[in-house]
Amino acid sequence: MARWGMVIDLEKCTGCQACTTACSMENSRLPGENWQDVLFYNEGEYPSGKLTWLPRPCMHCENASCVDVCPTKATYKDKDGFVLINWDLCIGCKYCMIACPYGVRFYAEEKQKTLPDVREVWPSKDGKVWDPPWAMPSHLNDPKHGVGIQPKNVVSKCTFCYHRVSKAPQGTPDLDPNDPKTRDFTPACVVTCAPTARYFGDLDNPKSYVRKLIAEKRGVRLQDHTGNRPQVYYLAGEAASIPETRSTRTKKV
């Protein structure tokens, strides 16, 4: 058993969004259905204001509130630490989307944000949301783990590339894209990250580099006060910061 987790070094992240693109291609996401997203925002005020960004995959929380609220146990916590959706059980109530503090979940049955509606350009013949020519081979579709293109009327989310990571040899401490032995098991966003801002490994394995990074570079978790205990850690270092708030409130005078 592992407890897979990710470390994102915000000092190294350039906000290039290659991770978002790689995820979309790997998992055949619709435009805007960004399982992995990079959010841009302003921080501070003139003259010290700056444009900054936050890469945001699913946090695969230890105490995932999305798992607890799901009335059919369609969303579940896997033995290796993945938070996954069994599409065969999802009733599309969207309660998990309400309960996730990070907004990482998607429901594809909605008005599309870009035109043309690609669901109509590449319609699916077997009840899926769409069927683009570059979709992953059908034998890799795994609805019980939320892998592949989802059927209509269910919720979808980042799987930490379950179809890759779950095939890693047992006891592997880290999935390093630069190591030929582990590259194929590494999540697409980690493989593609040009500035190598992403690290992926077993948080429970004492030998893992991710553990070392979290300990030595003071890894922090987003919105830790919610008690969800994400398995994605951010390294802010001296040059970066994690957002203090997602709030839209203006400062009280």
């Binding site: 805007g32 997203d37 959010l39 009335p71 989307m97 996730c100 919610t226 839209t248």
Partner: protein
């Protein structure tokens, strides 16, 4: 078994198909059926052709107006069940005349609510087997499903017992107690479904279940005032129930509304005062049309109208106040739903709020829901003699 041949112990037909419906009941039935039929046909057509894109919900704003509308009907149902229990559980004799009517209203508002819920879910039929077998005890929505299903079953049994004249039997009392407890649990759990969401601070409150039960009860009082007032105009009022209509119900309306206003004021002031991120939705409320409909039309005007004894006893004022409150609480449900979701999470937006206005298809669910209620109410009034009640002389 020929259901038409069945008779109650006192010799009346179980389903009174021989009698002719009065004008108002017939109007309600036909009008309700037409309105519900047309609206549901359009909604279903839109859902089959466009899927849930027919709604204006999005991954940024997952729960749309149908949730608010079904919340309105489900909470009204629980409130109506409580009113019927005032007689059958707590022995408050004054409420005998409306007990049967309230149970029927409770059943049909539940049916309307379930219908709207089914139109909101992605896979409504999967719910029927996936929820019971999941045993997800941690999910308030799982408990809601269980409680509301039991609630509907008990309400139907209770209605059957009263309809067959069993007002005083031990089993009626037991079923009534069970039904009362379950309806409190059901509406309270609906409150928990929102109140437990710490990640949606504008909803997060341990008082939410109580607020839901209270406003559900208030909605039920308004429903009762409205429907009984309408029926009085047709069939007149027997002397022994005049006190209920002229004195008790209006006073209950006023007192309950006062409690709602105090609770709501507490919510608003807490929200405006709080610095906690996400609570700024309360400030934004002040610019929302729905908020002002809720507060002024739904709460303040009916409170003033029903504040004096002279006005309270006026049937037209009663109907007007009940109608205004219903409009207000309807807006309130939608407003609450929006408030919890408009502060964005870590998705798409960063600055600004998530905008949401229900689509035409979503608005159509209002006539669909009310059409179902009016149609079934007219049918119930015709077939089940809803004015039926135990004579006070026989009451214990």
């Amino acid at each position: 078994m020929n259901i038409l041949a069945l008779r109650t112990p006192d010799g009346r037909p179980l389903l009174d198909l021989q009698s002719k419906p009065d004008g108002l009941s017939a109007l309600m039935m036909i009008g309700g059926a037409v309105v519900a039929g047309v609206s549901l046909s359009i909604v279903l057509f839109m859902l089959f052709t466009k899927g849930h894109s027919a709604y204006n919900t999005s991954s940024d704003f997952p729960w749309g107006a149908p949730i608010a509308f079904y919340m309105f009907f489900l909470l009204a149902s629980s409130g109506l069940s409580i009113i019927s229990s005032l007689d059958t559980v707590f022995g408050l004799k004054t409420f005998y005349p409306v007990a049967k009517r309230c149970i029927w209203l409770s059943i049909i508002t539940l049916v309307a609510g379930f219908t709207l819920l089914a139109l909101e879910l992605g896979n409504p039929f999967r719910l029927l087997w996936a929820v019971p077998i999941s045993a997800q005890f941690k999910s308030p929505m799982w408990w809601m499903g269980i409680f509301y299903s039991i609630d509907l079953a008990l309400l139907c049994i209770k209605f059957y017992l009263l309809h067959t004249g069993e007002w005083d039997s031990k089993r009626t009392h037991l079923i009534s107690v069970g039904s009362f407890v379950i309806c409190i649990f059901a509406s309270g759990t609906l409150g928990l479904a929102f109140g437990m969401m710490a990640m949606r601070p504008a909803w997060y409150s341990p008082a939410m279940p109580m607020y839901f039960i209270l406003t559900g009860f208030m909605t039920a009082v308004a429903f009762t005032v409205l429907f009984t007032s309408l029926m009085r105009r047709v069939s007149g009022t027997p002397e022994n129930v005049r006190k209920l209509f002229d004195d008790v119900l209006p006073r209950l309306f006023f007192i309950t509304l006062l409690a709602v206003v105090v609770t709501r004021f507490g919510q608003i002031i807490t929200g405006l005062w709080g610095n906690y991120e996400g609570m700024e939705a309360h400030w934004r409320s002040l610019t929302s049309v729905m908020f002002h409909i809720e507060i002024w039309i739904g709460f303040v005007i009916p409170l003033v109208l029903m504040g004096s004894r002279e006005r309270r006893t006026n049937v037209s004022i009663q109907i007007l106040s009940a109608l205004l409150f219903m409009i207000g609480i309807f807006a309130s449900r939608l407003h609450l739903l929006i408030m919890g979701q408009e502060v964005p999470l870590f998705k798409d937006y960063w600055a600004g709020y998530v905008e949401y206005t229900p689509s035409f298809t979503e608005w159509l669910l209002i006539p669909a829901g009310f059409g179902i209620v009016f149609m079934l109410y007219g049918a119930g009034n015709w077939l089940f003699n809803l004015a039926d009640h135990r004579a006070p002389a026989n009451a214990h």
